[in-house]
Amino acid sequence: MADYRLPEELMEALKSKFPGMEVSERQDVTLPLDDLVPFMTEIKENPDYAMDFLTNLTCVDYPDYFEMVYNLVSFSHGYTLMVKTRIEDKENPEIPSLIPLWSGADWQEREVYDLLGIVFTGCPGHPTRIFLEENFKGHPLRKDFQWEGGREP
């Protein structure tokens, strides 16, 4: 299998710029929440990375934190990158929206908001629910979501 990861020197350059980031064996980048937007801006705008395609955006509800997962692709270089960031605040999870960088984030962020209740800041009127009706209570993909009438696990 061919390798679609970022070359080491580019990774090093990123590391020096964002000291808070952690890189896993598989080259999944984990960022502190504050670094997210500068990091994303850097890898999108810098022609060395040119991550112009946001493939996937989702979120996982772990017991102690929410983890946002972004999958990025660079068309010109062929790199792929998985970026993760943790939202420690489980009561009022908030994260800056990435719509200014990739418009494709719009519907995916709405989906995440709808199903997991992550609030994306920075764009007025966004996010709104996308699948469920406006007055639906709760966010079904959260682990603590209980719905009466559902099948016992």
Binding site: A2, Y4, D52, F53, L54, T55, N56, T58, V60, D61, V69, N71, F75, G78, T80, M82, W102, S103, G104, A105, D106, W107, Q108, E111, L115, I130, F131, L132, E133, P140, L141, F145, R151, P153
Partner: protein, 364 residues
């Protein structure tokens, strides 16, 4: 004279929204001023359901997403789980996957082509593509025992090897596919009215297509060469020789035409796969109880609608902690609201049809 815009509620029960999809149109006469797509009428919470099932039990749920190309939906999910567990898939299984996957793609594109004809008003196109799709579905039934929701893929391979009678049948079908495509071209593509309705309608510029994360024929219709089978070959796609058809203008016409071309290319891939297919087992060494190690994995395949991705998180138990599906139809719809502005009601249908959505997949 004072004119006023009015709202037209297109759907959720409408013959041309390909299911239960709703668009709230603000119209000035026949011209769309603002369009708000409202999905969610087929939301079943598959991602939530998956958390209460074992890894193998999730496979039938993936069928219910893009039920027109269910094989490909299986594929994305099992690929992610295999990546998570590090399972080696036997070569024969990979070839089988390619063959059934491409057959599924052909079936899906046939529906897209015929339904698009029906959207434009040529109902006859619909019956022709559905007639031909039956042959493809017959083949897949021969393989999996089911006609629509196959659940044929298993983690580590596929459920069963091809039966003997499959080989002559698939050869017969492959010989007919160029003639079928020519028939669609003659009936739909070549029609003057059809061209007038679709050319330079609903243009998506390439940079916008990339910005909005569109994929599949919608992205390639805009001329962006991004087909995962070519740029990041998964499975054994790097061993086949095929072309990626691209559009020029990014209009409905390009998106429609690409699908017919892709059917021809799929035929080439299947032919090569049948030729190269090695002997061997169809299911790899997989533990009885599938218990992936703690961790996560994201895998992508090129489905008939676009890039279909699956993100699986495991906490070490036999049930997935979290499954997320990146559904191409859903994300391709993200640009619809902006795209529709300024077009007429008839174009709304033409544009929506050219994106080729399946609501089971959009709403998941």
């Amino acid at each position: 004279m004072k004119t006023q815009t009015y709202y037209l509620n297109l759907g959720p029960q409408h013959p041309s929204t390909h299911g239960v999809f709703r668009i709230i149109l603000e119209l000035d006469g026949e011209v769309v001023v603002k369009a708000t797509p409202v999905p969610g009428y087929l939301h079943r919470g598959i991602e939530k359901l998956a958390e209460a099932r074992t890894y193998t039990q999730v496979i039938p749920y993936t069928d219910r997403m893009d039920y027109l190309a269910a094989m490909l939906m299986n594929w994305g999910y099992v690929e992610a789980v295999e990546k998570l567990m590090g399972i080696e898939v036997p070569e024969r299984a990979e070839y089988i996957r390619v063959i059934v996957g491409e057959l599924s793609r052909i079936a899906s594109h046939m529906i897209a082509t015929g339904a698009y004809g029906a959207d434009i008003g040529a109902l006859t196109a619909f019956t022709y593509t559905f007639r031909d799709r039956e042959y493809v579905i017959d083949l897949l039934e021969m393989v999996s025992g089911s006609r629509m929701t196959f659940s044929y893929f298993r983690i580590g391979g596929v459920a069963a090897d091809f039966p003997e009678e499959f080989y002559p049948a698939v050869k017969k079908l492959l010989d007919q596919i160029p003639a079928m495509c020519d028939e669609y071209d003659g009936l739909i593509t070549g029609n003057e009215i059809f061209q007038a309705r679709t050319k330079f309608v609903g243009i998506i510029p390439p940079e916008v297509a990339v910005d909005y994360s569109l994929s599949g024929p919608v992205l390639r219709g805009s001329g962006v060469n991004y087909d995962l089978r070519k740029v990041r070959p998964y499975s054994v796609y790097d061993r086949f020789d095929f072309e990626v058809p691209l559009g020029k203008n990014g209009d409905c016409w390009d998106r429609f035409r690409i699908r017919i071309e892709e059917m021809r290319q799929s035929k080439r891939i299947i032919e090569q796969a049948l030729e190269q297919m090695p002997e061997g087992p169809v299911l790899g060494k997989v533990p009885k109880v599938i218990k992936p190690p703690v961790g996560d994995a994201y895998a992508e395949i090129e489905s008939s609608k676009g890039v279909y991705g699956c993100y699986v998180v495991s906490d070490g138990s036999p049930k997935p902690y979290r499954v997320h599906f990146r559904r191409p139809s859903f994300i391709n719809l993200g640009y619809l609201g902006k795209l529709l502005e300024g077009w007429k009601i008839a174009d709304v249908i033409a544009i929506l049809g050219s994106i080729d959505i399946v609501l089971g997949e959009v709403d998941c």
